[in-house]
Amino acid sequence: MPTLQEIALKTTGADARIVSGHRMCSGCGIGSIVKTVLAASDKPVVVVSATGCLEVVTTIYPFTAWNTPWMHLTFENAASVASGIEAAYKVLKRRGKIDEEVNILAVGGDGGTYDIGFQALSGALERRHKFMYLVYDNEGYMNTGNQRSGATPFGANTTTVPAGKVSFGKPQWRKNLVEIAAAHRISYVAQAAVNNTMDLYKKAQKGFSADGPAVLAVLQPCPSNWSFDSSLTIQYSKLAVETNFWPLYEIENGIVHINTKPSNRKPIEDFLKGQTRFRHLFRPGNEHVIVEMQKMIDDEWARLLKLEESGIQF
């Protein structure tokens, strides 16, 4: 296992796979996620990214922040294009036109993964193309100004589920992409967060070396639309893990393994406080939403613990 020093050497400088000069918002952790994941590959990487924050900020013409083959595509077909690249690569290899080993990475935001690109992703997983799908989850359509997505959590205020006198924000719980991916019986699925670089790096390594497709979901607190100070991105990611809002776990060959078990689970209020999208939950009359949220988180965590304990193959 490499040290943080060795990872740092691979992520900085002009020969890193993604370089400075991209136009992500100040404090956006997508840069940290993508550079760490790209560094985890010991082979050259071909990247495709679905429409979303990452695609928009890294490739404003005539600039590109990519220092590795990268392909532009639409919102819904990241996984399909990755499948096509993998199929073409296999043919070229079989015909002896290429002998280098490569890894293929598809990157999407939660909108392009949980919602719009979901069918393409499911198809690619089912066809067993060897690629890794990375989703940076900022829990909504943040690039277009905070609309609700399938990953937006219960109780959050967005422009399409606004909180007010009759509504407390999004009334549904988000879908569990990791378990949906695991239901395709693929060999590696994991959930990571931007605050734990080593854990993210290890999971990316496992994903790249998996036999067949792999899915990696990474939480990315969005300073612009969760509305907190840009210096607190890592802090909010940490709180999401410490409150069990976003547990760090992996499903390897169907077996659930929880990577971090907070010894002292913090109350969910610690994570909600300071985020504008949850501000209304602290107003009188909305106490029940936080209580319900806490119950759901605790129930989910208890279920995850049971899954791990049982050792039953997913």
Binding site: L9, S20, G21, P62, T64, S231, T233
Partner: protein
């Protein structure tokens, strides 16, 4: 009507040179400037791994550099922040375990450097 071509004759897509964003300096976005105090740094690389703008350069140093407590740190060492790209988010200052980075308003930092 245009001449019909087979797929083998189609032109390849546009290929652009890589990493051209290095020519786009995002440092102008900054409101707060990180001031790096090398004498407090333990070269743990936490700030480097978190920096979303890859704006903290590092180098391999065999002779070592003096850091926290006057200790000599060898191997991979952190250098001063690259202000061409730093957007001043303050993640480095917030996450630094030895508080070696402080955020100062850009105009104050500018004035201080003019006086020197």
């Amino acid at each position: 009507m245009t001449e019909r071509r087979t797929w083998q004759e189609l032109e390849l897509g546009v290929e652009l040179p890589a990493a051209t964003s290095l020519g786009y300096k995002t440092g102008g976005w900054r409101v707060l400037r990180p001031i790096f105090n090398a004498s407090e740094c333990t070269h743990c690389m936490i700030c480097v791994s978190y920096c979303p703008d890859m704006a903290i350069p590092i180098a391999k140093s065999e002779e070592g550099v003096a850091g926290k407590g006057g200790r000599l740190f060898k191997g991979v060492v952190r250098l001063a922040t690259n202000l061409d790209y730093c957007k001043g988010c303050g993640i480095c200052a917030h996450e630094c375990p030895s508080k070696a980075i402080s955020m100062v308003r850009e105009e104050e930092a500018e004035q201080a450097s003019c006086k020197l």
